[in-house]
């Protein structure tokens, strides 16, 4: 019985091979599994075994030819007259092809239609499948495979629509060893079970990164005036308000005002639509004993500086003592993160899903800076702080990001020792 010999697939990323050496000639009798031909791929050299016993027939590719995996490389005759189809690969000659130029009229005659020669054919749009696919919609096969291989789905990045974890994603996670059971763990390693908060943070981060296309922009801010203002007003403020005066609430105040001027930064991508949030509720990242939390200063643009400071201080205190409740951490529309407190001078923060942006205030560092004046350039020692913005590029483009940063910069740089800040 006629049988086609096909170049087998060997690995995921290997798509073709070079025929190196035929080990058998047409007419030779061959045994099943006997090596037939040596091939070279970019990963490995290998011998292709005979799929069946029989007689080798026509060789269709020559030594030195590059052949795609799955292509027919030779034919053979198997011994059986009727072969039980244990390997039911489709035989292309039995599938055949459509002959070009054979024309059939409407009721059986020969008719060569010329009507479409002048009519452009357009592809009709295929409607997208209707099921809503949020990233946490696990399909039955995903759940089953994850359970079988011990994969924690919250750690799998979804490549499907809306960030959905697909079957491929799970299988990829399996193959890359992303699960606790099969990954080789040496005696020196320590396996730590993440706390529930850690897991939640992990899930939230994965969701944010897989769903939101992040882009970044940064700006340098001259905070010399701000530093001077604080030095001057510190003691009076703290006496009056009973809380310490730090830079952060001032930044928050400025940022809230800038958000009012740049509403796109205060929005959210929801179900294919951009929702521009009416309130400005700025979340501030705080390291609490149990992990990162983001309490929210509600309506930050409507409070004055002392109000913001008191609120902020109160939230931080609660956070540090694990006394935050649900209302403290919900409804945030923007996040401000003081990475500078730990000495960082640049950061690419992850957006707090489903917000549109996150801004960091980096460390304030005294630097020599070129100042342009009426008499020319000179060098001065200024307190400089970077502010780094990560933004959702579905909603915000570079122009809007820059405008926002510029607004914040101007707001902060306009503060001098004599400013009257409320």
């Amino acid at each position: 019985m006629a049988y086609e010999i096909v170049l087998p697939h060997v690995g995921e990323s290997v798509t073709e091979a070079v025929i190196s050496k035929w080990l058998k000639s047409p007419g030779d009798s061959i045994e099943k599994y006997e090596p037939l031909v040596e091939v070279i791929t970019d990963k490995v050299n290998m011998d292709v075994p005979a799929p069946e016993s029989g007689v080798l027939g026509e060789i269709l590719v020559n030594e030195g030819d590059t052949v795609a995996m799955g292509a027919v490389i030779a034919r053979m005759e198997t011994g059986d007259s009727v072969q039980a189809n244990s390997d039911p690969k489709p035989i292309s000659s039995r599938i055949g092809t459509l002959v070009q130029g054979a024309n059939v009229g409407p009721t059986g005659g020969e008719f060569t239609d010329t009507s479409l020669a002048t009519v452009p054919t357009s592809a009709t749009e295929v409607a997208a499948p209707k099921s809503e696919t949020g990233s946490r919609n696990y399909s039955p096969v995903v759940t089953r495979l994850a359970a079988k291989h011990g994969i924690d789905l919250s750690t799998v990045t979804g490549s499907g629509l809306g960030g959905r974890v697909t079957k491929k994603d799970v299988l990829a996670a399996v193959e890359s060893g992303g699960h606790t059971e099969l990954a080789p763990v040496s005696e020196e390693d320590q396996v730590i079970e993440p706390t529930p908060i850690r897991k939640m943070i992990a899930e939230h981060m994965v969701r944010s990164v897989s769903e939101i296309p992040h882009a970044w922009s940064a700006i340098e801010v001259d905070v010399t005036g701000l530093v001077q203002w604080r030095d001057k007003n510190r003691s009076e403020f703290e006496a009056l308000n009973g809380v310490k005066l730090t830079y952060f609430p001032i930044m928050l105040h400025v940022v809230a005002s800038s958000l009012r001027q740049n509403p796109k930064l205060n929005s959210s991508w929801q179900d294919g639509k951009i929702v521009s949030k009416g309130q400005i509720n700025v979340g501030v990242a705080v390291a609490s004993a149990s992990g990162l939390v983001v309490p929210v200063v509600n309506q930050a643009d409507k409070a004055d500086l002392s109000g913001i400071t008191r609120k902020f201080t109160d939230l931080v205190s609660k956070a540090r003592n694990n006394k935050l409740d649900v209302t403290d951490v919900q409804d945030g529309t923007f996040t401000l993160n003081n990475t500078g407190a730990l000495g960082s001078v640049w950061g690419g923060a992850i957006i707090n899903h489903p917000q549109a942006a996150i801004l960091t205030t980096e460390a304030i560092v005294k630097r020599p800076v070129v100042i342009s004046g009426p008499t020319g350039d000179s060098i001065a020692v200024r307190s400089m702080m970077n502010m780094c913005l990560s933004f959702d590029h579905r909603i915000i483009d570079g122009v809007e990001a820059s405008e926002f940063l510029q607004s914040v910069k101007n707001g902060i740089e306009s503060i001098t020792a004599d400013s009257d800040l409320k």
Binding site: G105, T112, T114, S115
Partner: protein
């Protein structure tokens, strides 16, 4: 004379459509060549302002006789957007005409006969003065629907005329294999109404028979079956090749019964027109056809989005 001019125009249009098919522009055509005299004479005995016409796919000439313009017919053959019968959703000559009550819902053979009985029934129930003419070929006479329609029409004495254009071939199946009788008209007696066989190449013979049937119908006397014998000068359609089943002598001999030729000779013989006038009529028909072809070939096809309309009343099914 007018009848002759319509026949000549039909002939030239017919030839043009066949040519358009060979050029790959008209996908399908069924020729009326050989049927022209029957169709013009039949229509002439009716009143298009009130009567109904259920045609079949070979009624080219009848459509012209009923006032359809060559452009309208060409739009059907060339599948153009402004095809009045079906906006090119159907094969040519199918659909319904907006000006004359002439229609043909499908290419399924003989389904129009019970429908014709229904049309006539509605007229009778409403006491309307109208006659329904339903056209069909010899092959259609074998369908069960033909029997059912004639039977029903006879029971209710409906004002319907069953007009068969018998060209003795249903595609390739000759009459001897289609029926066990010599003449279709003899079946009418079995239902209880008159049937008559006539020479379909003779305008006057057809007209006389039809006029009699129309009068019967208008007088409430019921249906009539008219069997007009004609020749199908060309194969069944542009997809057919009649040399496969007809001898060359047979095909040759048919041309002796070409109604356009017969009419032309007769008119000249009786001095009603001169040879030059005849040639002028032919030339004028050719020119008209050329003009119509040029115009319609420049017209667009219907847009894809239009195909969603008119499935049912209202916005139609969701895509």
């Amino acid at each position: 004379m007018e009848l002759y001019e319509t026949m000549v125009l039909s002939r030239y249009l017919d030839q043009r459509v066949w040519l358009l098919n060979r050029q790959g522009k008209a996908a399908i055509a069924a020729s009326a060549q050989g049927h022209e005299a029957t169709q013009v004479a039949c229509i002439e005995a009716t009143d298009p302002s009130k009567d109904h016409y259920l045609i079949y796919y070979r009624q080219f000439t009848a459509m012209l006789a009923l006032g359809t313009e060559p452009e309208e017919l060409l739009r059907g053959f060339l599948a153009r957007a402004d095809d009045p019968m079906s906006a090119a959703r159907q094969f040519p000559l199918h659909g319904a005409h907006p000006r004359v009550d002439l229609f043909n819902f499908s290419n399924v053979i003989a389904t129009q006969l019970p429908q014709a009985a229904g049309v006539a029934l509605a007229d009778k129930l409403n006491k309307r003065d109208a006659v329904t003419v339903v056209f069909f070929g010899d092959g259609a006479s074998s369908q069960g629907d033909t029997h059912e329609a004639m039977n029903f029409a006879a029971v209710h004495k409906l004002p319907v005329i069953f007009f068969c254009e018998n060209n003795r071939y249903a595609i390739s199946v000759p009459m001897e294999k289609q029926m066990g009788i010599e003449s279709l008209s003899s079946r009418a007696a079995a239902y209880g109404f008159p049937g008559v066989q006539i020479d379909g190449t003779e305008v006057s013979a057809v007209h006389e028979a039809m006029a009699a049937a129309v009068e019967r119908a208008r007088n409430g006397e019921g249906p009539t079956l008219i069997e007009a014998m004609v020749e199908r000068l060309l194969p069944h359609t542009t997809d057919d090749d009649h040399t496969r089943y007809r001898s060359s002598e047979d095909i040759e001999q048919m041309n002796d019964r070409d109604p356009v030729k017969i009419m032309s000779e007769k008119l000249i013989e009786h001095g009603l027109i001169s040879k030059e006038q005849d040639e002028a009529i032919h030339a004028s028909a050719q020119q008209r056809v050329n003009q119509a072809t040029d115009a319609v070939e420049a017209e667009p096809y219907p847009e894809a989005d239009l195909m969603y309309l008119h499935v049912t009343e209202g916005p139609g099914e969701v895509k």
